[in-house]
């Protein structure tokens, strides 16, 4: 029955999406355990004060400060400690990358007891998108978007004078923005001196454990992961069973 069923399925065009849904559902279910584990780690580790950081997995909350330099965001022109930009252009039916950039400079996090360096290489960023822009084929487009694209050397009009279609997302952390970091505190060799009152010898970076940087606080982040866990742990099986109801006719 199974072999006949698979043969009937392969001979038909209608198995692809239900089959994909079936496998995706199983994948989502196991992804739910990943989100649950993330939530458990966030809930298990208390927040440390920066002046008394111990080596190993730590959780801190404070305000971001530039350490090396401030980055000018290309469209909104803000001076940011960290910046992620995605600019895409629509050609035909598909979107193509024009620019995809993420800054990697270390920065400082400051709380009321001191400051510590954070090396964001390899971090999971959970940041809200700060600005989204899109341009239209016809009509007046945002001057800010057009100016930003032209500063980057991107042509905003076709040879015939029509507007090109772009979409742009900017995500950034400004100096003074509240920030949450969970990562591995380790000894720092050399590097920039942070000045008085700081954990000068320590950097928070990627280790063997979870490394996350977010503009949400601990409670909000825990709830986000908890919500994602519930959706995938229940949604995955529902998708699998729903997809199977379409695949079942090949077998029964």
């Amino acid at each position: 029955m199974l072999i006949d069923g698979f043969q009937r399925m392969m001979n038909s065009d209608e198995w692809f999406w239900p089959g994909l849904g079936f496998l995706l559902g199983v994948g989502l279910f196991f992804l739910g355990f990943y989100f649950k584990r993330r939530k458990d780690i966030i809930d298990a580790i208390p927040t440390s004060k920066i002046r008394s950081l111990a080596m190993g997995l730590v959780e801190i909350e404070g305000k971001a400060e530039a350490l090396v330099q401030l980055w000018l965001t290309p469209i909104s022109k803000k001076k940011a400690v960290y910046c992620e930009v995605v600019i895409e252009e629509k050609r035909g039916k598909h979107w193509y990358d024009v620019l995809r950039h993420q800054t990697k400079d270390p920065f400082s996090v400051v709380d009321d007891t001191g400051r510590v360096m954070v090396d964001p290489e390899g971090a999971e960023f959970h940041l809200k998108v700060d600005h989204e822009y899109s341009s239209m084929l016809f009509g007046e487009n945002s001057k800010q978007l057009l100016a930003g694209l032209e500063d980057l050397g991107v042509k905003t009009r076709t040879l015939l004078g029509f507007n090109r279609t772009f979409r742009c997302k900017e995500t950034f952390i400004l100096p003074g923005d509240p920030i949450y970091v969970m990562g591995t505190a380790a000894g720092r060799a050399g590097g920039v001196q942070l000045g008085n009152g700081g954990s000068d010898e320590i950097v928070i970076r990627k280790g063997r454990d979870f490394f996350c940087i977010s503009d949400e606080n601990e409670r909000e982040l825990s709830e986000s992961f908890g919500g994602a866990a519930i959706m995938t742990l229940f949604g995955g099986p529902v998708l699998t069973i729903f997809s199977f109801s379409f695949l079942a006719r090949f077998f029964f």
Partner: protein, 184 residues
């Protein structure tokens, strides 16, 4: 067939949940142990600075021999303490003696001008603040652990694993009172 798929997810889900619960309790238990050990690291650093402080003060505070002797004895008691409660008591006594010493040092301008003394005082005061932070962190870790082992359904797993509640670090009432300074 649908029942088989549902059964698969239910079984995997239950196994995953139980394994996750076990691992979480183990993590919380070890986190509390680690945060206790991290206090010890700083207490050791403070203990290492004390002989230098006593030597620096001896030359200036000729009339405070009793106080300096108290610090030396409190340091020895803290290093010899074997139980957790005994260690906490001994360390609290040492902190109290240090507070008295720094207050009395205000009467010795020559000592206050001594660079060595100033550096040691700054270092030990910094360590005291960090020790206080790490004690608070230990209490937070223990609190998270205690809540978890009492919540449903984790309490069943905790009983199975024989995990009992842990004690928080308490500061004795007399330690929170202001230090009285006696001169002479």
């Amino acid at each position: 067939m649908v029942a088989l798929i549902v059964g698969f997810f239910v079984v995997i889900g239950l196994v995953g949940y139980v394994v996750g619960m076990y691992n979480q309790l183990v993590s919380l238990n070890f986190n509390a142990d680690k945060s206790w050990a991290n206090i010890d690291v700083l207490l050791k650093q403070r203990a290492d600075e004390l002989p230098k402080l006593v030597e620096t003060c001896k030359g200036y505070m000729k009339h405070e021999r009793e106080l300096l002797q108290k610090i030396t004895e409190a340091r020895a008691a803290a290093m010899q303490a074997t139980t957790a409660d005994g260690k906490v008591d001994a360390e609290n006594q040492l902190s109290k003696s240090l507070k008295t010493l720094f207050a009395v040092a205000e009467n010795y301008p020559d000592l206050k001008a001594n660079q060595n003394f100033l550096q040691l005082q700054s270092r030990i005061s910094g360590l005291e603040n960090t020790i206080a932070d790490r004690r608070e962190f230990f209490n937070d870790s223990v609190n998270v652990y205690n809540i978890k082992i009492h919540q449903f359904p984790d309490l069943f797993m905790a009983r199975f694993m024989k995990y009992g509640p842990r004690h928080l670090l308490q500061i004795p009432q007399e330690e929170t009172k202001d230090v009285k300074i006696a001169f002479g």
